[in-house]
């Protein structure tokens, strides 16, 4: 299976990320030269389309190689320079990210009102995409900090994009303030890691924890145990903030609800997952089989449970549709955390599958709900009554998304939840499985309430007279694509699980392959 890639193919991950950034750099210049709305839209569509295609190609290359793809910037071997390491897990998430981003950009063409600031919106979308792909592909934990900051700052800005909206600006302020604190925490974590191990490379760090000799940075510098412990504590604070896990979930409902709808889909579906990805990468790939892995999985398990409960309880009390959807994100992140915390390979697979499924379903739910909200002009659930029945074109994908998130059998979220329960039972944790059933039931009632109000009940008097003219085609295409994917991921689980999910989750937990690939890459140089 081993094959030698050309340098062009090896460099694809770096090229995608840098190319996206460069095109984001050029967008204001293009706006300056050509003040046409369609030029900006076409440009960002083309750029994100190209990124999407290339990320699929990277996944194909990684699959064909059978081992992680390593690329070093500037030609420097790993501990010296920055490297990108793309394995199946990050490749898979990269594909999810770039595809959904592409659909979000298609959706925004129909959705966003055209004003003088529109080019800034698309610039920010491209920067977020570059940041997310960079976070996924990087193999250097200081670079991860920088990329995380790229994502964070552009998402703060995107939340405050409706600058006249009081709630949006306040939510962005809260998000930015505590988010910046969290990233400072991660920087402090880096200080501890660099202080104790003397390296900034993830594979090097993993080798240090496993006791493997790594060239150039020979041996550790300080006390590895306590250094790693402090690193883990601060790192978990930062990434639980980004992932909205329990103690740091408070910013999410406001921020995700107040943002423009495409941004909500992006934040809820993808940006939150970067935090989860980083936690998974550190806990499993870097820490490998060690005491610190045991400790942190336990913490994540507990946090996941609490998050699931809090998300479910917050969901039933919401009267605002977008806030409701945002709270459901907390619940689902809780599930993912539980899956990561179990630590068996089935649990990891369940988590991986849930990450993918939730990204797709949540994006679909936000995007379709956004169209409904745009028709009425209000986010209140009561005033949206019966709209799904009145406009079946939007109503059907909306219903699919709701049912999928509620966990109705043939759809995708049911499958990953089912895997999660199987994993809990398989690791002899039947009481835990029962405990986790409760938030599931609570959220099910909440979803059914929304489903009944919007899709079953007759429309309100005031909503009957609105015409069809508000429907637009560019916004409908991504919704249908996502809905079809939802169904396919549910039905085709027998095919998809062994095809990509299981290999991806297995490689996540395989430290030795990660270290050895990087070491071999150094020797090759």
């Amino acid at each position: 299976m081993v094959m030698n890639l050309s340098l062009i193919d090896q460099g694809l991950p770096g090229f995608i990320v840098l190319g996206l950034t460069a095109s984001a750099f050029l967008l204001p210049l293009i706006h300056y030269l050509v003040r046409r709305r369609w030029v900006i839209e076409l440009y960002s569509l083309l750029v994100s389309g190209a990124a999407c295609t290339l990320s699929w190609r990277i996944l194909g290359l990684v699959r064909a190689m059978g081992k992680p793809l390593v690329y070093s910037f500037g030609g420097w071997p790993p501990p010296l320079g920055i490297i990108y390491v793309v394995d199946l897990f990050s490749g898979l998430l990269g594909v999810v990210v770039s595809s959904i981003m592409f659909l979000v950009i298609v959706y925004s063409i129909g959705y966003m009102p055209g004003d003088r600031r529109l080019y800034l919106f698309y610039t920010l979308l491209l920067v977020v995409e570059a940041g997310m792909l960079g976070c996924l592909y990087t193999g250097d934990f200081f670079n991860l900090f920088v990329m995380l900051e790229v994502i964070s700052i552009s998402s703060y800005i995107l939340v405050a994009y409706y600058r006249g909206d009081r709630v949006a600006v306040e939510a962005s302020m809260k998000y930015a303030m505590y988010g910046a604190l969290a990233t400072t925490m991660y920087f402090t974590a880096i200080v501890f890691a660099y202080g104790s191990t003397g390296t900034l490379n993830m594979a090097d760090l993993a080798a240090k924890i496993q006791g493997i000799e790594f060239p150039i940075t020979n041996g550790v510098f300080g006390n590895l145990h306590y250094g790693i412990l402090l690193f883990t504590a601060l790192m978990l604070w930062a990434f639980t903030f980004k992932a909205a896990l329990f103690p740091n979930h408070f910013w999410l409902p406001d921020a995700h609800a107040a943002a423009p709808t495409p941004v909500s889909a992006l934040l809820s579906g993808l940006v939150v997952k970067i935090g989860v990805y980083a936690i998974a990468r550190f806990i499993y790939t870097i820490y490998g089989v060690s005491w610190i892995n045991q400790l942190s999985t336990q913490i994540i398990l507990i946090l996941g449970f609490i998050s699931a409960y809090i998300g479910a309880i917050l969901m039933i009390i919401q009267s605002d549709l977008k806030k409701f959807i945002a709270c459901s994100t907390i619940l689902n992140i809780g599930y993912i955390g539980v899956g990561l915390g179990i630590g068996t390979s089935l649990g990891l697979a369940a988590s991986t599958y849930h990450i993918v499924n939730h990204a797709i379903s949540k994006a679909l739910l936000f995007l379709s709900a956004g169209l409904l909200i745009k028709i009425v002009g209000s986010r209140n659930i009561a005033s949206l009554q019966g709209l799904g029945r009145r406009y079946p074109v939007i109503g059907i994908p909306f219903a699919i998304a709701l049912l999928s998130l509620a966990g109705i059998p043939p759809l995708n979220i049911f499958m990953s939840k089912f895997l999660l329960y199987m994993a809990l039972i398989g690791s002899n944790n039947i009481p835990l499985a029962l405990i986790l059933l409760i938030p599931s039931i609570i959220s099910f009632t909440a979803y059914t309430r929304i489903f009944y109000t919007i899709c079953i009940k007759p429309p309100l008097e005031s909503n009957r007279n609105i015409g069809h003219s508000l429907l637009n085609i560019p916004s409908s295409i991504p919704i249908y694509l996502l809905a079809i994917t939802c169904i396919l991921l549910g039905i085709g689980i027998d095919y998809i699980l062994p095809l990509i999910i299981m290999p991806a989750s297995n490689i996540l937990a395989n430290t030795s392959i990660y270290i050895n690939t990087v070491l071999n890459y150094m020797k090759m140089i």
């Binding site: 920088v146 303030m177 402090t188 200080v191 660099y194």
Partner: protein
Amino acid sequence: MIEYLILYLYTSLFIIFAIAVYGVVVKPNIIKKIIALSIAGDTANTLIIFLGYRLIEYPKPPVLPTLNPSRGEINSFVKEAVDPIPQALVITAIVINLAVVAFLVFLSIQLYKLYGTLDHRKILVRRGVGSEA
């Protein structure tokens, strides 16, 4: 003696960091929060710069003072220069902090325009979330 000095510096840095975190969380005024945030960032920067210091008599900055060094010059330079990595990391971190703070300040101007105050408790009241307690 020098060990106690190092211990003192570490401890004071961490106490400042803790105070800054406290300030971000507790202070009601948003500008004060931003100041506390930048203090937190600067403390982390100072910490890593401090780690890279070299405890010898006259440490040198990591810059070779000549363009045509002899082998001996390079060798003595390696023995005297401080760790350059923290300095490079800190420049990155400073820029990032600065960017975040610039944006936050701009956002707080907008916030003031919308709410007429920068007190977090009053903002919550005017949004209809908190109470006037």
